[in-house]
């Protein structure tokens, strides 16, 4: 289970982006090789939202991961599209390291891992 599921709900005003909106946007950022989103892979460790500023803590499947250089831009592109988001900061961490146990496959993607 990813930490993202244990994160406290974000309290905010009606024009403030919600954690659910950010998660939905992150669900559209896919691993090109696996065809799974960063959320389903359990790569997202935490989401903090304060006055439209979104801080995302996430990992990659391994240090030296091929998309290390470009992933933060993909995440920023996706989350900036959420109404009310003013800035996005992406922090990559390998503590704790990712393991396959973090994968949380959606029914839609059970057949995509080919």
């Amino acid at each position: 289970m990813s930490d993202v599921h244990r994160a406290p709900a974000i309290a905010g005003s009606s024009d403030q982006p919600t954690r659910e909106q950010v998660l939905e946007a992150l669900g559209g950022v896919f691993d090109p090789e696996l065809g799974m989103s960063v959320v389903e892979l359990g790569l997202v460790y935490g989401i903090d939202i304060v006055n439209g500023a979104v801080d995302i803590t996430m990992t990659l499947t391994a240090p030296g991961c091929p998309v290390h250089d470009v992933m933060p831009d993909w995440i920023r592109q996706a989350v900036m599209a959420v109404p009310g988001v003013l800035s996005v900061d992406v922090r990559i961490t390998f503590d704790p390291p990712w393991t396959p146990e973090r994968i949380n496959l959606s029914p839609r993607n059970r057949g995509l891992l080919a």
Binding site: G28, V29, F30, D31, P32, E33, L34, G35, M36, V38, L41, L43, L60, T61, A62, P63, G64, C65, P66, V67, H68, D69, V70, M71, D73, W74, Q77, A78, T99, P100, E101, I103, R108, N109, R110, G111, L112, L113, A114
Partner: protein, 433 residues
Amino acid sequence: MSGPGPSAGSAPSPTLPLSYLVTAVAAFVLACAAVPALAPELAGHYYHPRLAALAHTVTLGWITLSILGASYQLIPIVLARPIWSQRLARWQFWILAVGIAGMVSHFYIGRWPGLLMAAVMVGAGVAMHVVNVAMTLSSVERWRLTARFIAMAFTGLGLTVLFGLLLAADRLWKFLPGGFFPTLHAHFHLALLGFVAPAVMGVAARVYPMFLLAPEPSGWPERVQFWGLALGVPGVVTGLLGVPALVVPGAIAVAAASAAHLTWVSRMARDRKRPALDWGLRFVLTGSAFLIAAGTVGLGLAFDLLSGPRAALAYAVLALGGWVSLTIVGMMLKIIPFLVWYRIYSPQVGRVPVPTLARLGWPAAEALAYALLTGGVAAVAAALAVGDARLIGAAGVILAAGALCFAAAVARVLYHMAPSGRRPAAAAGARTA
């Protein structure tokens, strides 16, 4: 995130490994096409100039270029370190390509002075690679299994090439002590067990878990793999060169390393979170299964239960064609699409829908390649064991057809690099941002 590619701040240009890998595929097609053409020679003794040309097309043109090219892509991932010098790697490619072409052609026509000159070029290219890897490894802080295997592999490569240079010089000046065939066998085993085996096992240690979505295994298989090769390879090579009593214990140690590797791969396959296997992973796992057959025949040769050129040729095909080549084909079907995707589609992520890696390939060609190559390798090994030229020719045709299907699958992926070959995302899950 799961595929191989440039690492943080160290991204080698995708064209660097691609130049090695595409040349290696061309060598593979050439080698497979040569099997039916050389069937009469293959039905005889393996020491024949044209068979030496075929062997070096496989070992240098296909296997070595694949490993060197893949290492420039995978070392930044498995070691989390940038390659020391990309410029050196580019110069090295051209020196190696010319040197290998020269060696193969001079073997084929049996001209030894030209062979020695070409071998010197190959030696220079390999030396450049060893320097590049050594400088990269020098910044590694924690020597995990993969780093140790890579160091072992490129030490083995350097020694193999040095050995080969001595053999080429010996054709002219006859200075090496001992019999020719034991020396030749030692050269072959140094290449297979001292260079290729640790390269495959080392990369597998980090890359298979990433592709299979499996936990990285640990424990005794890790230690037995490493120490089995570290102790077994010197035993086998020294034993072949002049201390026969070391051959059997060396072979047992190598067999233990192989058994540990197979145990470890089967654990990953069993515990994987990736339920469906693509053709690349099927090639890799099938290649591992060929290690059982190759190891069995190899032990038979070491224990003198088997002997002669028929068993030796079948052993070489099971090891180089089965285990090593099928593993490389599988890895290439993973690496090349990623390199092309990273170069062509990665900059477009978030701006336009882009295809996933699975949509870059040609699954029908990959499936046909799988059936023909796995069947072809088994058929060629069996035909060589029998020693019938017609059977070798027929099996070689199957193998060559498989190689062409594989090349077609690779060409389809590379076609995305041409503007007319690019395609938009078209399926659910194909959007990347």
